[in-house]
Symmetry: C2
Subunit: 224 residues, 2 copies
């Protein structure tokens, strides 16, 4: 099996690296940079798939896109030995597994993105007479649409993890790999005061496969 | 099987209604309203699940959340007769099916939400000396983060649907039910000039199950 990961720096594609390191299979990395505005420089990516997005993993010439769908393919359909151990540990936990694979990008990331964009508005180089108003607008959007939601997601995760070692209990799964990214994107702000999320993060970051993924792909988020 | 749909007006929960109408099973609807700011009034919902979100479908006392995970459960695990016909029509199409079930909320909705929030900023009741600056900020965010992305998603969908009756080919599936919502949320703006998306929408809206879902749940988006 010929596996190529299109890896965008500081991005969701670290999920694919983490997964492949857990599986212990060989793969190649094609590296993509972000531009100054934080966007992917995606012309190269578009040659491989019209959406031009990372992560993209090409397996024997076939591009796979959407990070959760990539994880699902490897776990369920790749035929790689031992891959299914990263899937739901039991039939009873299958729905929780599915939930987390949708929840990460479908619910948590959108509100984190809104917050991030509004932070960029607040720190953008704007004329002095515009800056305080831009800040007021951005604060208003955050107050109304992101701050409360983000807090609620992290309260939910903290409560969930208060009785579990990993998201699905005793077994580390692709759900943990998936939720790694929103937790990293939320950074200290929402993690430090959630002891169970923090403890889960420390366990996750201690995994040899995680360390190798970061060595090969670089940090999950840009340096401040 | 006892099925209750917590249906929030003008929302993703129309997906659950559409699915259940396609399956032809009995279910109850508990209706939830949005407040003036467009947010769910979610205290009731939180009594059923800590995230307090719609759609939520309670099956024999067990709450299911995240709309794609709800669709997947009914198609794959409910045991309802004929439900699997809404799943991937073949093994070859399984990854495309998975892709669309993640793509709808993971990629298309976030940029539509950014656009929507910025539209709200532009039309918010603000003092006259603030309004033009708020508008400038909102336009800037849309230019940089949502307009181009939205256009690209709809170009991709239009191209995809140029050779297919439904998203997975000849067979209507839960992928169509899922993508219904972002296409409705984009409204005329991005649909009118994409003939293949428009034709797909017309086919979808002509389905008796869709019509019954709208009759029972009301329109997908609020009246302007």
């Amino acid at each position: 099996m010929n596996i190529t990961v299109h890896h965008l720096e500081f991005s969701r594609s670290t999920r694919a690296l983490f997964l492949l390191e857990e599986l212990g299979v060989d793969y190649e990395i094609v590296r993509h940079k972000r531009n100054k505005g934080g966007r992917a420089i995606d012309d190269d990516l578009r040659k491989v798939h019209p959406l031009g997005r990372a992560p993209m993993v090409v397996v024997d010439g076939k591009p796979l896109v959407e990070s959760a769908a990539i994880l699902e393919w490897f776990v369920e359909d790749s035929g790689i030995e031992g891959a299914s151990r990263l899937g739901p540990p039991s039939r009873e936990l299958k729905q929780d597994y599915r939930f987390f694979l949708h929840y990460g990008e479908g619910s948590v990331m959108p509100v984190l993105i809104i917050r991030l964009l509004m932070e960029r508005v607040k720190t953008a180089p704007l004329p002095f007479f515009i800056k305080p108003i831009a800040r007021r607008v951005a604060d208003g959007v955050q107050d109304q649409y992101s701050n409360g939601e983000i807090a609620r997601h992290f309260d939910f995760l903290d409560d969930w993890l208060s009785t579990r070692e990993w998201l699905l209990g005793d077994t580390f799964t692709a759900a943990d790999i998936h939720i790694m990214y929103p937790v990293a994107a939320a950074k200290k702000l929402h993690v430090e005061d959630r002891p169970h999320v923090r403890a889960w993060w420390d366990r996750l970051a201690a995994r040899p496969a995680f360390k190798r993924a970061i060595e090969k792909g670089g940090p999950l988020t840009p340096p401040r």
